[in-house]
């Protein structure tokens, strides 16, 4: 892969990490605050998702008008047991820790002890799922 393209990947990652930190989603209290619908509910995560989904959805509609771009297909895969069970397990972990994969990695760079426990465990979980069920859903 050309060096220029890899620099753009670095920029995309930098933008992603900046977005996570600016949005407050790297703070597990804010994430758990959103999930705690019967407590002191914090709507911030909804605003993050609205911004991200809106920009991505609109951007993909525009990008698909250009020929020659290699883009992932827009279609849905079947809603199978892997999707249902896997997502249910992910949600339990998300609610337990207040970390999903992006914010966990973002906090790893800051050497926060929670991330130092969470991320290696996440890697083990991923390796187990990929070992026994394959990497592709």
């Amino acid at each position: 892969m050309k060096a220029g393209k890899l620099v753009l990947f670095l920029a995309a990652g930098g933008l992603f990490g900046t977005g996570l930190a600016v949005s407050g989603m790297t703070d597990p209290a804010r994430v758990i605050g959103f999930l705690d619908v019967f407590g002191a509910w914090d709507p911030a995560l909804l605003f993050v998702m609205a911004g991200a989904v809106g920009v991505y959805g609109l951007g993909m509609v525009i990008l698909r008008r250009f020929d020659g771009l290699k883009l992932p297909s827009a279609g849905s895969s079947p809603i199978d047991y892997r999707l249902v069970i896997g997502s249910a397990i992910f949600g339990v972990g998300w609610g337990l820790g207040g970390f999903c994969p992006g914010p966990a990695l973002a906090n790893l760079g800051a050497l926060r002890i929670e991330a130092l426990f969470f991320v290696p465990a996440m890697a083990i979980g991923m390796l187990l799922a990929q070992r026994f069920f394959g990497a592709d859903r």
Binding site: A12, G13, L15, F16, D36
Partner: protein
Amino acid sequence: MNHYTLWHALIGGILIGLASLLATVLSGKIPGISGVFGRLLVAATPDKAWRGIFLSGLIGGAALSFALWQSAALFRPMRPLVVMFVAGLLVGFGTRLGGGCTSGHGVCGIGMGAKDSIAATLIFVATAMVTVFIYNRMVL
């Protein structure tokens, strides 16, 4: 920038959307963080370079933001470390079994209107809410 508002949430979300778009155009794939990271752990993955660099950028961008803005640096630990370890196992296993996380299914999949991603997101938000309800009321 130091006093957090819902504008921060919206603007941060827009940045996440733009970053995901850029990574999609560059890779030709849906750049969900769990998939990007998970496949980095598989020996047979042919395109490891961009995955590693993209995630390094994510970590660096977040670290820079923590240093620049107090509101971004706010971090309130909620759970004991043993719970964080168990949570990590479940998040890693679940996202790779289910084919995506908050970014791959939640942002990109829903952004493209994919029915499976909408279902996945409804499921993981629901089980996360139930988990928080139970944890906050029975464990704490």
